[in-house]
Symmetry: C2
Subunit: 487 residues, 2 copies
């Protein structure tokens, strides 16, 4: 094994004269970096952003671009929905839980309308129309979508209101979003520059950093603060093995550069981490098909109401059920999904009987027969006493039956490599205050160091909903930028 390059901090006296100098130095130009740069510059700081890639974007630009916003935004109102911060908080505390960060979450919900307006001021457009159906991401330009708010048990803890805000774009909106945010931030940027070590002064204060550009060492002095917005660590197999092994072997949701470099650089300088094992996992299973039939595990057991936010059934499956996972539908369910919403997914197995299907899938004899018998018996009465799926999706399944391969669907192409049909990213990271100050093991700030986005542990507990990573990254990125500029 070749030794990894050291990420240990460098003393100010070892650096001598710095190659570059600025007020607030931001490391990583994804959504959190853009938000921090925007606010730091607006507060009058001399801002410089370092980015490993050749320009802004990061994993944010490869995402769907959904933003989890609410509390009564213009889009919600225009679509006829009445929301408020407490209602939003009640949903997110449950959906991002258990053990969501209540302090961060409270702020996020209380100021969500303002945050929505900030996106608009940056030039992000949201159409005033709702996409009604369960999906990972609609290929329409609708500005609003449901993200599990109307599914049990969440519909029992908060008034169901959709909060998935979508930048006007067909399909993936992350690129448009990042184009707008980086334009609005307008920060001076050093691309192709990889930060490697923090520089500490004699009092342990972060004074800048050492980077590499085209193999050359470059040094940066930050007079006010360094803000780490480098993303998570799903691309670092060793860190996954140490902290989040559940993702080993699955696909990755990233731009390929989420290698935890910022987290490592900061922990080497004394920063504490939090919730390093928490991850988001997305199973390719198509929500439109799943909610009309059932999701089962490798033993043919149903395990969740299929109309939840698809990230919830994905995490539940991969974390808690033995694989492989299958969507079981009948002909009527399959045919009732508009062809455009099937994304080219075809059944892997079609059989007349469940006995044939369970045999084809390698399940215990009688497993699917039993699961479907129980499901049908209750569905006849419009009930789902185990998981409480919305009655509108409940209907007895009748022969012929089909099994949909979980490796087909939303991430189909990219996932054939791993074959698991699942992709994920990490949610744990540096321990920060609501203003992005990075804390050490004793709970004291590491002077001069801030972080936001997936390099930090944000408002998430053990759950996740689309739009809360871009949402949390930008919201707390903005706060970190303001606090850094005030140093």
């Amino acid at each position: 094994m070749t030794p990894r390059p050291s990420v240990e901090p460098v003393g100010l006296d070892e650096v001598g004269r710095f190659d570059h100098e600025c007020g607030v130095l931001i490391v990583g130009y994804g959504c959190a970096g853009a938000a921090a740069a925007y606010e730091a510059a607006r507060a009058g700081a001399d801002v410089l952003v370092l980015e490993r890639a050749s320009g802004p974007g990061g994993s944010s630009a490869q995402s769907g671009g959904e933003l989890y916003l609410g509390g009564g935004t213009e889009v919600q109102k225009a679509c006829g929905f009445d929301d408020d911060p407490d209602n939003m908080y009640a949903y997110l505390e449950a959906a991002l839980g258990p053990n969501a960060d209540t302090e961060k979450l409270r702020l996020y919900c209380d100021e969500s309308v303002e945050h929505f307006e900030w996106f608009r001021s940056c030039g992000v457009q949201f159409n005033h129309s709702l996409y009604e159906n369960p999906t990972w991401m609609p290929f329409t330009e609708d500005g609003l979508m449901w993200l599990g708010e109307n599914a049990w048990p969440y519909n029992t803890v908060a008034r169901p209101v959709p909060r998935g805000h979508r930048p006007a774009a067909r399909g993936f909106g992350g690129a448009v979003l990042m184009e707008r945010l980086s334009s609005a931030a307008g920060a001076a940027t050093h691309p192709d520059t990889q930060a490697t070590n923090l520089v500490l002064d004699g009092d342990g204060r972060v004074a800048g950093l050492v980077a590499r550009r085209y193999g050359e060492r470059v040094t940066y002095r930050a007079r006010q603060a360094v803000v780490i917005t480098t993303g998570g660590f799903v691309d670092n197999e060793e860190m996954l093995a140490h902290h989040a092994p559940v993702l080993l072997g699955h696909g990755k949701v990233s731009d390929g550069l989420d290698d935890g470099s910022g987290i490592r650089m900061a922990t080497a300088a004394g920063a504490a981490t939090r919730r390093m094992s928490v991850v988001e996992i997305a199973l390719t299973a198509l929500p439109a098909l799943a909610c009309r039939g059932m999701l089962v595990d490798g033993l043919g057991r149903r395990f969740i109401n299929e109309d939840v936010y698809p990230g919830h059934y994905s995490v539940h499956a991969v974390r808690h059920q033995p694989g492989p996972y299958w969507t079981i539908v009948d002909e009527e369910a399959y045919e009732s999904v508009p062809e455009a919403d099937r994304w080219g997914v075809l059944p892997k197995h079609v059989t007349e009987t469940l006995a044939e299907l369970e045999e084809a899938l390698g399940m215990p004899a009688g497993a699917l027969e039993n699961t479907v018998e129980v499901y049908n018996r209750h569905a006849e009465k419009g009930e789902d006493p185990y998981f409480h799926k919305d009655p509108k999706w409940l209907r007895p399944l009748r022969s012929p039956f089909a099994a949909i391969d979980p490796a087909d669907g939303f991430f189909g192409g990219a996932d054939r490599g791993t074959g698991t049909g699942a992709r994920g990213f990490t949610l744990g990271g540096l321990h920060t205050t609501v203003d992005g100050a990075v804390l050490n093991t004793s709970g004291e700030p590491v002077p001069g160091l801030y972080a936001a986005g997936r390099a930090a542990s944000g408002m998430h507990g053990e759950g996740y909903v689309s739009g809360t990573s871009l949402g949390d990254g930008t919201f707390f990125g903005r706060r970190a930028g303001r606090a850094a500029a005030a140093e």
Copy 2:
């Protein structure tokens, strides 16, 4: 919130003259501390052990005292079992996995017979007799017990051989074990002394530590090394919330002092951690009853073969299934457990029909009826196609039925407070080499710092078996002691 005392390291120049000095300074006198002290002294070092409590013991002394040993020990041979290190490794890699530390595990298995002999040389006695039945801990003086080796799927990856070695004691053997180990180590000890901060010299080398005794500050110089054997962090609610929230609200397996102080002191000095979210959980459900009936979750679903090591069904339940958990038996199953093995547990509900029972337990109508129907249909044929319980435990369950409360049983009394029937401890900790050297974020040793026991991440992946924590703590404690003495 009152600010916590700082655990940040102190500079050598801030200390001035040390109150005490030694060669190898060991922090914490549980099993890992005793093992480290033994070997360091044997290698000629001037050893001193600090202990917060009034004497040696720690959580080790409160444990059952089981030691997971094998590969062909004298006890195994005397009981007629043929084992070898590869066979032991195959079982543990599966049972402590997924993602066990293969390097540590390989050494542990290869040298297990030697480690067994070391215990004997310390005066620990093991009787040459086997306790046959599934249990958390037999109240006999048998020297050997099964720890899941004969249960599916483990019996398919390794030849089933029992490896639970028990010091001769009725019931809990931890106190006897620690009495022997601390006597054998014979180390000079400063009791009632709580280490608070490491002392670093100008090169970042650990040179000693600062402690508190009866409210006074005391300083210790360690000429060779400091070895941290302070235990895990189950008693630190804030650390649990940050790293292992699954244990919040459950009972604790500890002496009440496992507050992560050593882990925090070391991370503040640059140490990296590993697998901080991994825990062991013990559900009180009695194995003797569970394997004769079935374990079900809050929805009345069976989820595992009940003849696995009880820690496996406990972790599976608490991590993966909705509670509350119940043991369902019929009259014949209950009566067939010898009264001495029932530990006073009485059924909470007894009913003629499963419909009455599922109603009493608040389960969906038909849930238990369905589960028992499926179980019975296969049990008639001596089969368990879902979970492969040993046919010797398979028998259709017949009216009358009973539900056993999971809060009754092994940990009954202690757990009534939490009401969850589950107790646990943490398995994550400092990142160490096989010789106990503590590594920093860059993967380089923190000079002069060693760790073992539950303050370190040992050979465990995400699984656990009784005796592997005392086993790993002593085995790698010995290696850490030797390496520290060689500094």
